[in-house]
Symmetry: C2
Subunit: 412 residues, 2 copies
């Protein structure tokens, strides 16, 4: 009966998920000589550092209770602020450790193994992981410039699909950058009411809009909506602070699970977020600066891509967010296979395959303009073009760069 | 096909857990006129407030990167400090949002629905919830003054029990206060190696020891151990900062799930914890102060209980931790039924039933000496004795206290 040498046997839940390219790529961000257009890190130069220092100093000095345990749902003043913003009651709000935790919570309270969850393909990696971990069976839906193609969902519904959840990103979907049009939002809300599924609406980039029209919140159109939000893009991610607004009938279940997974969201982080979100005039000024900055960055990258690639790369100047989703116009191209050579040539991106629900998206790549200095965006586009176009012609290497590609399993 | 009125249907996972008394009781802590001996809140007067302010100021000023995303496993310097302390490699360490999250992670990577998990009855509520949520089937083990009765576990193993996990608290089990003896620790480690289960060792109160001998870490005795830790009791809980040390074979699974549930632990919280844990001389001084304080508090409460109850209450002066686990020596007593009257009489406690695995522990109550001022501990003991002894005689009410008890489902 000696089992001391038996290996750890993972649960079935673990077997459902695999490592994400984003996680593995975070390790590359600091690699010297590599311009990263890969990671989704927001610009650290725009973090409100002195405001944050003052907030913590103030909070901790005034009340050591910000270092104490607090209630599972979140601190009352923050829940109230969130409720006002969403035009709901505070009793529908739960503060979470980032929107990723909100996705995990909604998945755990709604999904049994095999339950269908419909979402865009390519899909947001964090949502794919959370739904798979909870046992969701993913159903891929097509997208275009107006976001999720709701008429394709309707066809599937008429053909018998009964999803528990439909996940949708309102503004600047990651990776496609598309915003759900108002007419599609209305159509989706009608379908939810008619077919009895729950909509999970995520909207991390709403404030980072530099042109075009925002998507309306689905919560204004249907009661069958869970709204998931984060402060990571508009303030900073290092607090892990987000929230969810849920229908009344779901609230107790979500609170119970939240309590079992980490008791409550860090009290100090909630205090800091509340301080920054409610400081008179601060957020509107800060958001204006971010919009200007990210808009400039997007234009620099897109202009450089146009110059370097000519018509070899298909993409649109985004209306907001942090990413360009681009298609290489070459038959048989495989961006995942190109990535090690690109890093070898001094530039990193995320290949389309990282966002796979069912399609491999081999001709696509996601480029972030969020954090690199403008000159690096231009140089990154140059290196990328050299890799992609040279790669097609047979692979000359960028002079002066490392010869050895990193292990292939980093990009799975 | 109109389902718009259909209620939210919770997943099976939600159905496995129920509200915990600790959560509901947190709401009572601030109720005016009620002396709370219920919640497990550490003493906020002993939080290192000025150290923390300085730490944040220093960290944010030096590097805005503490507000940025960071790696799923934790920041390298903190993982190294933890590894040194546990005498393991940093590659075995994952930083978590409190030890509660560590429990949830170990449950999710090891348990399929119905897998047996053995633990003490009465049990730690957080562990019970995490294991149940992940589908674990709880197996109650008896305890005594030397902690979990390992010979009872061995009997069950010989009778065919094959647990995936055995959960054990090393020092000052919550609620019993017992410390696992060194000989039982060795015995448990041998059984793990022989029968192939994994030990989850939790140890939140180790530093809060004011007498007696500590339990050895099981990780020094077997490779089949996951160590779960928190800084909540020795620093403060409001950061939600803990960690786990796992066998190599488990590491990747835990990291994958951690990434899917909240990407990573808050970067700023990790920075603050590291700053405080590594500041020369700080922790040893701080821990000495805590030991003196909690030891005094324990003596005040126990002395008052002895005075007020005489031989009507059975308990031992604890060697550490924050709780007294006491048995009311009256046939047919039901502490859960007494609680609303106790609150009505101006004192709160946690009834034994809150810690049920299978036994109801109706004669028991858990009293916290952590946070109430000494005069409140004495007065709390007086009010408690009046409720318990009067209750037995037919229930006179404490003069000047509210008549209406709170809703009963608060104590489920």
């Amino acid at each position: 009966m000696d089992q001391s040498t038996s290996a750890f046997a993972p649960s079935r839940a673990v077997g459902r998920i695999s490592s994400s390219a984003i996680r593995e790529l975070l390790a590359l961000v600091d690699r010297p000589g590599v311009i990263s257009l890969a990671g989704g890190l927001p610009s650290a130069r725009h973090f409100p550092v002195s405001e944050t220092r003052r907030a913590v100093d103030d909070l901790v000095r005034r009340d050591p209770g910000v270092l104490q345990y607090s209630s599972t749902e979140g601190i009352p003043a923050l829940r109230e602020w969130i409720a006002t913003r969403h035009q709901v009651r505070p009793e529908q709000v739960i503060v979470t450790h980032g929107s990723q935790q909100a996705l995990d919570l909604v998945a755990r309270v709604t999904l049994d193994e095999g339950d269908p969850v419909a979402l865009a393909d390519p899909g947001y990696i964090g949502a794919i992981q959370a739904f798979r971990l909870a046992g969701g069976s993913l159903v891929a839906l097509p997208t275009d410039d107006d976001g999720l193609r709701i008429e394709a969902l309707e066809e599937r519904l008429h053909a018998g699909l009964r999803p528990r959840l439909v996940y949708v990103v309102l503004n600047f979907h990651n990776p496609t950058g598309a915003t759900l049009s108002a007419s599609r939002a209305r159509h989706l809300a009608q379908l939810a009411d008619r077919f009895g599924f729950l909509i999970v609406e995520d909207d991390p980039y709403a404030e980072i809009r530099f042109s075009g029209n925002p998507s309306p919140s689905l919560a204004s159109l249907s009661d069958r909506v869970v709204s998931v939000r984060t402060i990571s893009k508009v303030l900073f991610p290092g607090l892990r602070l987000g929230w969810m607004v849920v229908p009344d009938s779901m609230f107790r279940s979500v609170a119970l699970v939240k309590q079992a997974v980490d008791l409550h969201t860090a009290t100090l982080a909630q205090g800091v977020a509340l301080h920054l979100l409610t400081r008179p005039g601060f957020m509107s000024d800060h958001v204006r600066v971010l919009q200007g900055y990210y808009g400039d960055q997007a234009r620099v990258l897109c202009s450089a891509l146009a110059t370097e690639f000519g018509d070899q790369l298909e993409f649109a100047l985004p209306d907001g967010g942090m990413f360009v989703w681009a298609r290489v116009r070459r038959p048989g191209v495989d961006t995942e296979a190109l990535l090690p050579r690109a890093i070898d040539g001094g530039v990193a991106f995320v290949p389309g395959s990282a966002f796979t629900v069912t399609e491999p998206h081999r001709a696509y790549l996601r480029l972030s303009f969020a954090a690199a200095p403008p000159e690096d965006l231009a140089e990154g586009a140059r290196r990328l073009a050299r890799t992609v176009l040279d790669g097609h012609r047979g692979g000359r290497r960028h002079p002066g760069c490392r010869a050895a590609p990193p292990p292939v399993d980093r990009y799975n």
